[in-house]
Assembly symmetry: D2
Homo-oligomer: 346 residues x 4
């Protein structure tokens, strides 16, 4: 057991290290040779885990990071003149240095939303361009679960989006960098927000949930799976010593480590939100449905807190900050932070 | 100390696991928080190592794999209508699923060579197209050190290529997936084949030399360095928990681990080559100058060996096989393999 | 003189044919041989016209269509991780089938505007991302003159945008598909809205102003001009028998044909707008500052008119229609259309 | 009738002007309005001509130039990790400024040939990479008819290539910039070297055969045709006033103008070749099967001729020059040139 260090970063779940069970799994994978590029027993084992968790038609492919998982996943769905509909807060639209445009050559049709969540009606505008050869053709809907605003889609909301997308000849992609946090918050299985509600391709994020660097592209539409190895290689997402990526992902899917890490992080965010409720001048910006707390904070308070704690503004003009918890955030970390907030406010 | 397992794979240095010192460095980097995306002490430490080894103007940027390091490095040099001159055996030309064409949009002008090595005269043809707007303009020369045929450029050979490239307005890129093996073979410093001979940008490979997944783009032309963070992010090569990538690279550059691993692997290849010298029917295809032995082997011998050992043909029609050694190949592994070869031949 | 035909299309200035003087110029260019790809006297002549009209540092390059002129012009300014700021109504954003994303690999940062015109303050948001390697870097501002809503920038407005762009390390691009109409409306020279106000690269449109198929990329920043021939060729915009493209453009720049055609078309739009002023139920959607009239029309009126006349809705829900005039629209055409509108309204 | 001018260029069929019947057709298309972007009667008329000539499943799409026709045609066939097999002399490989790599993102697998012609056996090497995710997957074979060396494929040769391509899951594309010259040389119909022998997509070139600027993408595989309008628009190959492009193409397909122009140009090349037969020191480099004569010429002879005539070397070291004839080359032009050659030789 590692002693928690103070102050804890609330800037990102990426500031945390690696869960000991995952480091152990990597160490255990080390002795001896293994074939490169995924032709190894650890990767085969991960493939079985994926089928156990997501159903028999699910095919899982380890990749190196979240942006990579998104680009490979979307590339599967998009032809040369196709567009992607996504919320304007989407990670692919605002945090990946234009990879979607540069690597995929695709237009992102970004939709403003109040809460980071796309709704079936949001497809109406893009749908009206279908058949017009002056417009790229909308072929994929991409959502994030958890969203970039910390909110979650219910299974029914995803199913409705999938139905709307499919009815217009589009596919549904989910950026699941925090899929585990969503399932933990919703109290459902991972399949309940993917396989069972019409998702075609999604990413399953490990890194923010305790892995070192491990994500997976999971393909539920079997007609798309054959292309993944080529696209993964071409997109620079193929690990030569893949056993060490697969071992991380399998560790997360073993004994529900993914769920324990995610539900703990979520609980720490809720503990923070609960503490904020009694602090004046601080208001939640969005409902807390994962391991993120978005709060509206007076500038002076933010400035005071930033002297000791790491976190980011998502909208400096509006005073909105994002406070993230991680698998290794402790109640004491949260209470320490709440104390500091109370002090800064008073 | 891990017990060697039998049979050892001779298919790739990627079949080996991770050197214990590197795993230890990753474990040591784990406790506590670190800022994401390289703004951490381990990455800063790696930056200092790079300057120590490659000189004060060298800037090192950790990335996730070798193809990624090549694409980021080349992207720094290439505009929209530029071409790259490389040997037709280059990894970028034949093993990266068209990433150069797809991600960089560049034409690779591939030159046939007897030994995987480009020479100044090879630039003459492409140079003749400079100024013709029907031709993409050659703007970079890309070589591999060690080459894909296991041979090494001498420092003088690289200097001559750099001079020829620069004289025509081109830059020199080195795919250094096995740069350590080259320096070890040549008995020179890493700088002697990069900084001191006119290289502009190169990759420094860790994975094949005992790391888990760690390469670096190293920029020696300071006018190019500012673009790396953007291109690395866009090219899907940015690790969020970068401390763990940087720690691997720093471990290799600490106490000359890079040199010990590489010279050991090279010595094992030489032991294999020495053993082959007395075996009839087997001839070397290229000089042994690294951790690779290319041999011409009768089909029946190859078939017999493949029943127990892993390795690849590089030219099945010509009977050429590639046998690679790694940091963890032991003399006993080599002798065991030589025994098998002798048996197969007789 | 060709007899006008009825009914005249009000859908687009592209529905008109070719001005007789331009057809004559093409015919006159026909006899004998000419070197291909622009190395001919007609193209040299056009180059001189460009310098006469736009100043000595202006370099003009004939291309084949407006989207091509935009893509070549923007390609000159953009590196691999650069973005373009443009109004959300921009032609490059909404009418070119994602060419900017696919061919340039660039993100378009689209700004909502009330009138199709970008203002210096609109650069503030994108400017805040400069230096953040998770964001593509804004490197060009692209405006249309005439805008897609038929409005014009004053010279001062362009100068202010150019200053703001340059102050942040960006360049200013103008889609001048209807540049002639703008200059005619503003009562100024073509240089007054390009060369004299800080524009770096623009397109000069011939096709909508009476040519058959002829546009030009004009480069005012001399450091950018050398790249045009390569980018034009690569972007599929190089005519082999270029004399016939250049002859069209030179004809437009001879004896102010560009101005006569544009001011006539503008006058016809104004005649239409003047006539509308006394018709109930019809309101202008935007000021009439070129050869376009945008009007808000009751659905039943639009339906009745569409039985006989060609035109498009730009926003069907809001009842906004676009009525374009051309160099060959006659007063009688307009009056005929006004009669029909009056009848439809009553 | 236009008087021929002297000296005639032998550098390119692009140096010729426009056939009078084609200029007339453009002039005839001018009066009145026409809907833009191909929704006009001239384009519909061209569509019918295509079906008449190439059969009922052929769909023809006018575009602006030959490189554009190639890029649109190939884009129809290629996914994200696909490669094209072509002769190393192919226009797409050596004369289009890397458009295939930049715009299509595709690798061109270039095959050396003695005569510019690909043969079924040439597919064997690329075919061996099918299924290897480290290699882009060969999905199209692209040949030129006439080839860049002036030679022609027989219908049987094309059929054999088509069969070989289809048997490996590839499609066959033909760059038909001089398709008319091939059919005229072979004495067959245009369909006999396209529709009837398994071609999937080809370009039909008008510009080199007397048009001003008019090519067509013709799709014989009906599953591919729907994508053309989008790809043509995105690839900057959509003419707004398309009637004038279609009118050119229809003029070529009316009263066999294509055949008259091509067979005349071919006859002029043959006249030139016949004349050369009796001139010492000059040898043909390739058989004369179209409107091109490739000859090996002593340097002093070439230098002397270049003082008065335009033509290009295709291999200066080997002394190979290319002499092209056009629809407007006259017997007197050829005889004048032959006289000059005789004088230069003596």
């Amino acid at each position: 057991m590692i002693e928690p260090t103070y102050p804890k970063s609330f800037a990102s779940d990426n500031h945390a290290g690696v869960h000991p069970a995952i480091l152990d799994a990597m160490t255990a994978a080390n002795p001896g040779d293994a074939r490169a590029y995924g032709d190894d027993t650890w990767t085969a084992d991960f493939g079985r885990h994926v089928k156990d968790v997501f159903g028999p038609r699910a095919e899982g492919f380890p990749v190196l990071n979240g942006a990579g998982a998104n680009m490979v996943g979307l590339a599967l769905m998009l032809g040369r003149y196709d567009a992607v509909i996504c919320p304007d807060t989407a990670h692919i639209a605002g945090h990946e240095t234009g990879a979607a445009e540069r690597l995929l050559g695709t237009k992102l049709i970004t939709i403003p939303t109040p809460d980071g969540k796309l709704r079936p009606d949001d497809l109406a505008g893009p749908r009206s361009t279908i058949g017009n050869h002056h417009d790229p053709q909308p072929r994929a809907v991409s959502i994030s679960q958890v969203t970039e605003l910390g909110t979650c889609y219910s299974p029914d909301e995803i199913a409705a989006l999938a139905d709307a997308a499919h009815a217009s000849g589009m596919r549904l992609h989910v950026d699941g960098a925090r899929l585990a946090n969503a399932a933990a918050h919703l109290g459902c299985s991972l399949a309940a927000i993917t396989t069972e509600v019409g998702v075609d391709v999604f990413s399953f994020g490990g890194t923010k949930n305790g892995a070192l660097a491990a994500e997976a592209v999971v393909v539920l539409d079997p007609t798309l799976a054959d292309a993944v190895p080529y696209l993964r290689r071409q997109s620079l997402q193929l690990a030569s010593k893949m056993r060490f990526i697969s071992a991380q992902l399998s560790a997360l899917l073993t004994d529900d480590l993914w769920h324990r890490n995610a539900s703990h992080a979520n609980a720490m965010a809720m503990r923070l939100a609960d503490g904020l409720a009694s602090i004046p001048q601080i208001a939640l910006a969005y409902p807390v449905e994962s391991n993120a707390v978005f709060a509206v904070v007076p500038p002076a308070v933010a400035t005071a807190l930033l002297e000791r704690f790491l976190f980011h503004h998502t909208d400096e003009a509006a005073g909105i900050v994002r406070w993230m918890t991680a698998f290794d955030t402790t109640p004491a970390h949260v209470d320490d932070f709440l104390d500091a907030i109370r002090k800064a406010v008073s």
